[in-house]
Each structure stands twice: as structure tokens, then as C-alpha cells.
Symmetry: C2
Subunit: 184 residues, 2 copies
């Protein structure tokens, strides 16, 4: 039996990210899970306009998307509940920079994407930042066959109101398991 919930966002779980940007010249990290894939080289971040990070991101036109592992869940959550206007969150992590020079990244995160801001979708309460990935960094031990291994990265998954989940077991091969239903 189907029940109507009204217009409720149900597109979960989503991967939790730490978004890095310079604000007043200092690295700051915000926890964002309302993210999206635009195409193979572009991603989106939905960030409440009240975030301390947004002006820095707009001013520099650069940012980073860092994927924390499950063992970083406390620090990750902390970056979501404390504003950079009140506390210096950069002290939680070791920061490094890539070719863009103004997109601070988190050394402890197993995967980091260095991005150039290419457009902003202006929603009533959110800036939706669309970034072009210019470089992706990964901890060597999280590679398998030269590709990111998410079982090793151990990403944190978010479901609203409000839980973090682990990634579960591998279920099946994509673009393959459905072939047995083919008629021809």
C-alpha cells in the first residue's frame, strides 16, 4: 500500500563530503551531503546561503570536495554543526594545495577533488555551486587496479534527519547482472 508524504526529498543516501575553500585567506571546511553528479567532470554542491564558506568559494572561484572515511565521522559531523565564523576548523586537519593554489584539501581524506567554480544556481535558500574537477587525488592504498576502491575508501553515507551509514557489501556487477533478462 502506497502512502503519500507530500513533496518530500527522498533521494538518499548521499555521500558525505567536506567542502574546502579559503575564507578571508584561511582554509575552511563545511560538511555537505546534498551533492550531485552533473557529468563526468562536473559536480554540484547545494549549500545553504547562511554558510560561512559560500562567500569565500565565490570570491576565489575554487574549492575542493574531500571524501572523509568512516573513521573521520566525528570530525566530519563537527564541521557540519559548527560554523567557521565561530571556530577555526582548519586546525582539525592537515591541509594541502594543488595546482589551483586556492582550493585547500584535507590530507586525511582518502579522496580529494580540486575544483574550479563554473556556475552557480541561485535557489531561494541555497547556492548550488557547479564545479569542474581539475585534479583528483587519492591515497595510494585506496586504489585497486588503478581505480578508486570505495570498499577501501569507506565513505560515510547520509540520510536526512539524520543518520550516517556505512557502505555495505557488493551486491552485483553493474551493466551486467541485468543481461540475463534480455530476450535476444
Amino acid at each position: 500500500m502506497k502512502k503519500e508524504l507530500g513533496p518530500l526529498m527522498g533521494l538518499y543516501p548521499m555521500p558525505v563530503t567536506l567542502v574546502g575553500a579559503l575564507v578571508d585567506g584561511k582554509p575552511n571546511y563545511a560538511t555537505i551531503a546534498h551533492v550531485g553528479i552533473i557529468d563526468f567532470s562536473h559536480l554540484s554542491l547545494s549549500m545553504s546561503k547562511s554558510h560561512y564558506t559560500n562567500p569565500g568559494l565565490k570570491m576565489n572561484g575554487t574549492f575542493s570536495v574531500n571524501m572523509p572515511s568512516q573513521e573521520m565521522v566525528r570530525q566530519t559531523d563537527y564541521c557540519g554543526i559548527v560554523s567557521g565564523s565561530k571556530e577555526d576548523k582548519s586546525s582539525l586537519f592537515k591541509t594541502f594545495y594543488g595546482g589551483l593554489e586556492t582550493a585547500p584539501m584535507i590530507e586525511e581524506c582518502p579522496l580529494n577533488m580540486e575544483c574550479k567554480l563554473v556556475s552557480t544556481i541561485d535557489m531561494p535558500k541555497h547556492d548550488v555551486f557547479v564545479g569542474e574537477i581539475v585534479q583528483t587525488y587519492i591515497d595510494e592504498e585506496c586504489l585497486a587496479g588503478g581505480k578508486p576502491d570505495f570498499a577501501k575508501i569507506q565513505p560515510i553515507l547520509f540520510v536526512i534527519a539524520a543518520d550516517y551509514f556505512r557502505l555495505g557489501d557488493r551486491l552485483a556487477s553493474a551493466w551486467s547482472v541485468g543481461k540475463e533478462l534480455k530476450q535476444n
Copy 2:
């Protein structure tokens, strides 16, 4: 040690969806995992311009986002490897309609979002459809305290090139577990 991978999309895992639209007046379902949250009532779908579904979605201005459960992994994958131009995928599922009347939804999927197309981002190879959710439907047994319970929904998670994963265990409470790091 960090390794550079070039500009690689690493924003995974993503929830797998079946996107429903009428094409030439007939329900069609496409498997899409390159999705995003724009704000609490808007989502995005990145769909290759070659998809059979895109013209129907544009013409009607309506579509659905259906969340398959793990037990539907074969049918879900099938809808990703077979084009609606070649096979009638609607026969795989029981279709229902909501108030919009032109957004076919899948009865067997535990969660369905009925959407109005509000804008399209034109990328070189992809149409990125931004939809406003007008109604959300859920199987009653997937509710807990009146809210969607994703442990019961058992969504399929996608990691590119190309695996499906299960959702894992609950790790921690969001907006809570980080409080212990607060100084004040």
C-alpha cells in the same frame, strides 16, 4: 601518499534510480545514478543525450524518480543496458500515476517521487534535468515514525565502472556525534 588521477569523478556511491517518463505516450524507465539534490524540493538527473527517455521527458515536462530495492537489481540493471527504443521496459513493472497524470511510476519500487521539470542544464553530452518534487509515495512498510526508513527501503548504491553495493549498517547520528569535539 597521494596519487594524482587526473580530473576523475569520485563522488560515489550514488543512489540508483529508475526515471519514468512517457515517450510517445508509453511509459518508459531508464536507470540513472548520476543524480543530485538541489534543495529540499528539487533534484537533478544527469542523462546522456542519447537516452530514448529525454525527448519524452522534455515534451511532457513531467517525470518520476523511483528508488528500486536490492531485490530489483536485475530489472534495474536491465533498464540501464537496454534502450526503450528497442524493448518495451514498462512490461517489467506495474505502472501507476499520480496527480500530474503524465509521470509514470513503478508500483514495485518502495519510494517514488513525482516531479515537474523546472529547468534543464545543457552540458556537452548530457541533459541535466532539474525537477521539482510535487508528491512522494512510499510503501507503508518502509516507514518508521512517519519517515522513510532507508534500512527498510534497501536502496541500491552505484559506483562507476561498475558495481552495485548494499547500504551498510548505521554508523552514527548526524548533527550529533561531532558534538563531543566542541570546545565550548
